[in-house]
Symmetry: C2
């Protein structure tokens, strides 16, 4: 656990979150600034800063994040209507919390996902 | 291989693409309608329609997609400046090709990634 990491504090029960799923590898909770009607963060319990820090030993953790995304999408009723998975890594992406997380977004038609201006 | 799938046709060498990486599990090529200065699609060779169709047997494939994203991000010079990984699934997400793929976007500050309107 990283003491200064808000997601580690949520995982440890030291900070509040609207948790929708948890198992022995992954937690999922609502984003506090939702960008879609359904906006949930899928987060490994292990503190991994970003995609750049993933290694072979995390293969199963990465898969479990996708599996949890499937489960949560179904529970939220957006399995068929559709959803977007987003993982931001580093400055240009807008990553704010440096504990790996996957955004699960849905519940309405989603917009662009690239640069501000079409190139 | 799915005969009517454009990504399967690219993988089979029957359709053109600007391929930047290929191994025994994953191919990566430039998006023909780039939404950022760097916009590459990371695609499993196996025809899997979408996230909804992923199962435990695909765990290693999912990991390999992330590993290739790391490699390609480094080759493209955006490992440190940052990048976004996006996987769209179904209607609300705007998924167009129903062969699983991960967008790798970077090379400029990226914009919003949720619904059209902030909710």
């Amino acid at each position: 656990m990283a003491r200064d990491c808000i997601f580690c504090r949520i995982i440890a029960g030291e900070a509040p979150a609207d948790v929708v799923y948890r198992d022995d590898a992954v937690i999922a909770f609502k984003d506090i600034m939702p960008r879609a009607p359904v906006h949930i963060l899928v987060v490994p319990l292990e503190h991994i800063a970003s995609v750049n820090d993933l290694a072979e030993k995390h293969a199963q953790t990465v898969w479990r994040m996708f599996r949890v995304a499937q489960v949560v999408a179904e529970k939220q009723g957006i399995k068929s209507t559709g959803y977007r998975l987003v993982v931001n890594n580093g400055p240009d992406s807008g990553q704010v919390v440096f504990h790996l997380h996957m955004h699960l977004l849905g519940g309405a038609p989603l917009g662009p996902f690239g640069a501000y201006r079409r190139i």
